[in-house]
């Protein structure tokens, strides 16, 4: 390529580029064509500029030839982008979020996506756990409600059946027990009392303990005879009256 570092002496530089890019009118083109034949500076520059122009065209065709094949992507993405912004006028938070993701670096997008997935997983886990949580209806024996862990709800009929079974069991226990067991002197403990209270709550009226036996009644009568019937028969210990 010839060197054109020096400024051209010719003053028709603008006409030169107009002619080079084919924008000169027919008359101007003819005029400049004649000028080129006479002006060495313009002729030299014209040749050099033509080479530069060709080089740029080669580069453009190479680059845009490969770049324009996926050119559909810029169109779609640009349209999509503007659409998201348009919607963003109504949903500004969503638009801001999208814009944030557009301008944020890759690592930040990845971290946010991971956090979102984690949050969703936690949410699902929490919901599933709350659905499977057992409902404690009663603290009764597991024999009566064997499946209470899995089936917390019972129908009225099931409850009635369980109560009847419990009554029958108690009745059976009572009939097989010794008769004067009730007068044993063992002091009932707190746990016994609680059990008794609980049993009384459940037990129907017919199953309540019957009255004292004959032997018990006699013993009770003896004990009661020790107490005088009238106050006069009471032995004098102290007078309530003041000493005179």
């Amino acid at each position: 390529m010839p060197n054109v570092n020096e400024r051209p002496i010719c003053h028709r530089a603008e006409d030169l580029v107009t002619y080079l890019y084919g924008e000169a009118s027919e008359a101007d083109a003819k005029d400049f064509s004649l000028h080129l034949q006479q002006c060495n500076a313009c002729r030299g520059e014209f040749g050099v500029f033509q080479q530069v122009h060709d080089s740029i065209l080669v580069w453009r065709n190479e680059a845009l030839g490969s770049a324009f094949n996926p050119a559909v992507r810029p169109v779609e993405s640009a349209v999509e982008l503007t659409r998201s912004v348009r919607d963003g006028r109504r949903l500004s938070a969503l638009a801001a979020l999208r814009e944030f993701f557009t301008v944020s670096p890759l690592w930040l997008r990845g971290a946010t996506a991971f956090a979102a997935v984690l949050l969703c997983a936690l949410g699902v886990l929490t919901i599933s756990r709350s659905w499977n949580r057992p409902v404690q209806v009663t603290n009764r024996e597991p024999a009566v409600f064997p499946n209470s862990e899995r089936e917390p709800k019972y129908s009225k009929q099931e409850v009635d059946e369980a109560v009847r079974a419990e009554i029958a069991r108690l009745k059976e226990q009572q009939t097989s027990a010794p008769v004067n067991k009730g007068l044993t002197t063992r002091k009932p403990t707190g746990g016994d009392r609680r059990n008794q209270l609980a049993n009384n709550l459940v037990r129907p009226k017919a199953l309540r303990p019957r009255g004292l036996s004959r032997q018990e009644r006699e013993q009770l009568a003896k004990d009661l005879r020790l107490i005088p019937r009238d106050e006069d028969e009471l032995p004098f210990v102290l007078s309530d009256e003041p000493n005179q």
Binding site: M1, N3, V4, N5, A13, E14, L16, V17, T18, Y21, E23, E45, V48, F49, Q51, V52, H53, S55, I56, L57, V58, W59, R60, E62, A63, L64, G65, S66, A67, F68, A71, R73, P74, V75, S77, A78, V79, L81, T82, R83, V85, R86
Partner: protein, 189 residues
Amino acid sequence: MDLATNDEQMVERALSGDPEAFGEIVRRWERRIFALAFGMLGREEDARDATQETFLAAFRNLRGFRGDAKVSSWLHRIAVNQCITRQRRAKVRGETALEDEAEKNAAVFALPLDSSPARTAEKIERSMAVRRAVGSLPPDLRQVIVMKEFEELTFQQISEVLELPLSTVKSRLYTALRQLQMRLQKFGD
């Protein structure tokens, strides 16, 4: 109905709430804007990003569009500004050497397989040199040469886009060609 009239009508429709109107403007102009951005920035990814940002900025400022200018001129101005801003940021970050290498590798894959290795290497080197030469031009010269060579705009259109006198556009193009020749001459030596 000519294209320019349609563009202005599309803007009006977009402003009145037509959701498809701006999409149509994008479809019409994205190729040219992409070519401009590619010429200015020299990389496909950057050009794609700049194209998106251009239309995004245009959409945001749709209400600020003056009816006395053409939509195409308005879009080109936004695109040029986007490219200049991006290049300044890239310069601050010092993104040159690695990108050149990546560009070189991309160019190798873009060339046809039947090229001889020597010829392929020469083509790549030449393209790289042109790209570097264009990229090293001052922005005011680069935008003129890119609009002319990549978009094939007329001098009149360039003067409208850049709001410069016609003679200024021509003198800038002349200067740009001279500077390019000098830079490419270094490569040829």
